[in-house]
């Protein structure tokens, strides 16, 4: 008896050229990764060539992606000083080791770097996962309170373990793949979405020390932009491979939206880059050292750059007024409608990881990173104190205001260097994250054409004018 095969659902566009589409998507993935890493090579290579006495060591470095440990130990690149990512199986090192074994060269001195690298990457991974878990819990709580309900209450005290349990549930779920789906692509998509979300954290500056940034690439912000734009490929993969019309719709919308909003986002990012004269995240923050007025949210053109960046990053991370690719009421769930189990979990994780990255980047580019001048300390302290004192009404009166007072005291007393800088960076990023939650609870969803119009007729002209203004300002003020 032959089992009846389910007829393939006809699609809007007849994909008779399935093979080519698949090939194209694969090339797209490779191209995206290439586009992200290729610019790094000449830029990094420019500085490096000077230190390589032979072309072989340069090539070895090139293939090793990161500098190998000999150079590190010589302190040329500074990577080893604050420890990060020397890949475990870095080809150059492996080759040197093999050569060393057969007596054709010196074995590299690598042990310490490997340990540091592994520890650091584990810390980053855990930071991402734990912060996302917390953010999801806080989001549900915050939106719950905004919507006159309680949010999660059952698992753990005040429902604090709810996300953990949800993650366990996702892990335990059957991982289904629809019968007509493209299995390879379907499985690949969440990975393609999740990995860049994780990789972006490599250049996120958490605080004022080289120890608080995994790797201060001198193309930092370019790397962020390149990495986060890979996401769209994963989303298209997911939508196309699911063989579901709603998913396809979501994917098409995502492609249009993410590509459009990348343009104003990147244009506006160039403002702080011009002002700081560097693409490195650390350098950009260091350039905003001189107090609140020096922050790039005000500095040459007040607010415009920051707002445009915030709006376009909302759109890039699919947050509410722009959540068309996964519009609940139209597309049910959009591109991830067919996903279940941890594959869905990866999409979810990536989305929140991305939204937190965006907050970090915005804080670093426009809000002075970890710098907290006295004015800002006072403002932040008062805001925190009032929000604890006035909002947390289920706590007893005295306890509530004691908490508020201590929040104020912590803000006033916390230094903005060393470990204290970690606090300020997190505070600013969390504040922005809260803002996105607030927006999420307030706004309806825009329509596709309105969305595109807003990007191309609104944000892009504004960001171009902003860029021109900043450029002019920089040209005039240059000595």
């Amino acid at each position: 008896m032959t089992t009846a095969t389910r007829p393939r659902v006809p699609r809007g566009i007849e994909y008779n050229l399935g093979f080519f589409v698949r090939l194209g998507l694969l090339l797209g993935v490779l191209g995206g990764i290439g586009a992200a890493t290729l610019p790094a090579i000449p830029i990094l290579g420019y500085g490096l060539l000077a230190h390589h006495d032979s072309i072989t060591s340069y090539v070895a470095w090139l293939f090793g992606w990161c500098q190998h440990s000999e150079l590190v130990s010589e302190g040329i690149y500074g990577c080893g000083q604050y420890g990060l990512p020397v890949p475990l199986f870095e080809p150059a090192v492996v080759m040197q080791r093999v050569l060393g074994l057969v007596g054709l060269g010196r074995p590299p001195k690598v042990t310490v770097d490997y340990v540091v690298a592994i520890i650091a990457s584990l810390i980053l991974l855990h930071f991402v996962v734990i912060s996302v878990t917390l953010i999801i819990y806080i989001l549900r709580k915050v939106i719950g309170y905004m919507q006159a309900r309680l949010g999660p209450m059952r698992v753990g005290p005040k429902g604090i373990l709810q996300t953990l349990i949800d993650a366990v549930k996702l892990l335990a779920k059957e991982d289904t793949i629809p019968g007509t789906a493209d299995k390879v692509m379907f499985t690949l998509a969440p990975v393609v979405v999740f990995i860049p979300a994780l990789l972006v954290y490599v250049v996120v500056p958490f605080g004022d020390s080289k120890g608080f940034i995994a790797r201060d690439l001198n193309i930092g912000i370019l790397y962020v932009v390149a990495m986060s734009s890979i996401t769209v490929i994963g989303i298209i993969l997911a939508g196309w491979a699911s063989d579901n019309k709603y998913a396809l719709f979501g994917a098409m919308r995502a492609a249009a939206q993410l590509v459009s909003y990348e343009v104003p986002g990147v244009l506006v990012v160039l403002g702080p880059v011009i002002m700081a004269g560097s693409l490195g995240m650390r350098d950009i923050i260091l350039a905003q050292k001189g107090g609140v007025t020096e922050w790039f949210i005000w500095s040459p053109v007040p607010l415009v750059g920051f707002l445009v960046y915030l709006i376009s990053s909302l759109a890039e991370t699919n947050i509410t007024p722009f959540d068309l690719p996964e519009a609940e009421s139209e597309l049910v769930s959009g591109y991830n409608v067919e996903y279940s189990g941890m594959k869905f979990g990866l999409f979810f994780l990536a989305e929140f990881a991305n939204s937190f990255t965006v907050c970090f980047v915005a804080a670093a580019l426009f809000l002075g990173g970890w710098y907290a001048p006295p004015v800002f300390k006072l403002a932040a302290g008062l805001t925190l104190a009032l929000s604890v004192g006035l909002c947390w009404i289920e706590l007893p009166f005295l306890l509530r205001w004691a908490l508020a007072a201590s929040a104020l005291a912590v803000c006033l007393g916390m230094p903005d260097h060393g470990w204290g800088s970690l606090y300020w960076m997190m505070l600013k990023a969390s504040g922005l994250q809260f803002l996105t939650m607030w927006i999420r609870a307030t706004y309806p969803r825009v329509r596709v054409d309105q969305l595109m119009e807003f990007a191309w007729k609104g944000l892009i002209p504004i960001s171009l004018v902003y860029l021109a203004a900043v450029g002019l300002w920089a040209a005039i003020n240059q000595k």
């Binding site: 007849e14 006159a148 068309l324 009421s329 706004y443 309806p444 825009v446 329509r447």
Partner: protein, 365 residues
């Protein structure tokens, strides 16, 4: 060259914004809708036929299930039809109480509309605000008749019981409670720039189109036709209270929304006047031992929150109606939907369908 062709999408019967189990067969060209065809019947429970198999009294609980968001009005039109056949006049107090109940029900139903319409265009918060406020009305109903959704509250010739004084007090408290909440809702949703962009000039229905399809209720009044059964063919004590009929001009989704929103204010006004004029007395009329209306027929209609809700009833002089036809406003209003949706975007279909304000229980019956 890959060739493009129209894509057929099944929206529903399981879809978050088809308000139940409506299935809409959409032909889309990209995001554009070339045709939208509602496919009904997933919630068909044969209410009209059931009416021919039950006594007049036994059928009453089933009326709650027609339009489950305004069960009071369903009760009302059903018992009014029977009273008309029997030739019974209900006591004064009963009529005023019926008015209070049906206007409260109108507010509750419109609150659900505002909330779900917000959901349809992607705003999640108004929904919960609306349901919080609707809860107060349900509490009042529960105090009155013991049920929160399917009341069977209005009985032939009267009500299930008299309203205690505490209940009247509760209604008064509610009248003071709701206005600030409506203002808040107004500020959150009606004034929201994105909401206005999503609904203004979307799904425009001309008055001629609306009338030719037999549309009624706020759906019709959004197009500028000032027709309300409470004014046109008054029933209960509506001529004795002072209220306006909110009308809008453009006939787009926003106008339909605004009409319903303003109706809530008018209903509040009506309930307040009813409370002032509420007389003492009995709430139950004298009834014959068995309900056996003399042979004859009647068409009775009222203004339900969704429009003209009518019952056409033929009695052959037995305990069981010969024919019970229900004229559901949602069903009639939905018939305009294909005309409205054509030429708009996928996202607009959701908004337009939301602005029709259907309840599938009454569309499918």
């Amino acid at each position: 060259m890959p060739k493009t062709e129209a894509l057929q999408i099944n929206m529903g019967p399981q879809h978050p914004s088809t308000h139940g189990v409506l299935r809409v067969i959409l032909q889309v060209d990209g995001e554009w809708i070339t045709s939208a065809e509602p496919d009904l019947g997933y919630l068909h429970r044969s209410f009209e036929k059931l009416g021919e198999m039950r006594t007049y009294i036994n059928y009453l609980p089933l009326t709650d299930r027609w339009d489950y968001l305004s069960a009071m009005n369903n009760n009302l039109v059903y018992v009014m039809a029977i009273e008309k056949l029997l030739g019974i006049e209900t006591p004064e107090r009963c009529q005023w109480l019926r008015m209070i109940l049906s206007e409260l029900q109108r507010i509750a139903s419109h609150l659900v509309f505002v909330g779900t319409f917000g959901l349809d265009v992607g705003a999640n918060t108004p929904f919960l605000y609306c349901f919080r406020d609707r809860e107060k009305i349900l509490d009042l109903f529960e105090e009155f008749c013991g049920a929160r959704l399917t009341y069977t509250c209005m009985r032939i010739g009267g009500l299930c019981g008299d309203a205690p004084d505490s209940w009247i007090e509760g209604v008064e408290n509610f009248l003071n409670y709701l206005p600030p909440m409506l203002d808040e809702l107004n500020a959150l949703l009606t004034g929201n720039e994105i909401f206005i962009q999503r609904t203004k000039n979307v799904g425009v229905m001309s008055p001629e189109l609306a009338i030719s399809y037999g549309a009624s209720g706020p759906f019709l009044r959004g197009s500028g036709v000032k027709f309300d059964i409470r004014k046109a063919q008054p029933y209960l004590k509506y001529p004795e209270v002072d209220f306006d009929i909110p009308v809008a001009e453009n006939g787009d989704c926003y106008d339909r929304y605004i009409c319903r929103f303003n109706e809530m204010w008018e209903s509040l006004k009506i309930v307040r006047q009813c409370l002032d004029k509420l007389p003492d007395g009995d709430v139950q009329a004298k009834l014959p031992k068995t309900i056996k209306p003399p042979p004859g027929e009647t068409y009775t209609c009222i203004e339900s929150p969704r429009g003209e809700l009518g019952v056409y009833m033929i009695s052959d002089g037995t305990e069981i109606p010969y024919r019970l036809k229900i004229r559901g406003p949602g069903f009639v209003n939905l018939s305009v939907f294909p005309e409205l949706a054509r030429g708009w975007k996928l996202a607009d279909v959701v908004a337009i369908l939301g602005s029709v304000d259907i309840v599938m229980g009454e569309v499918d019956r």
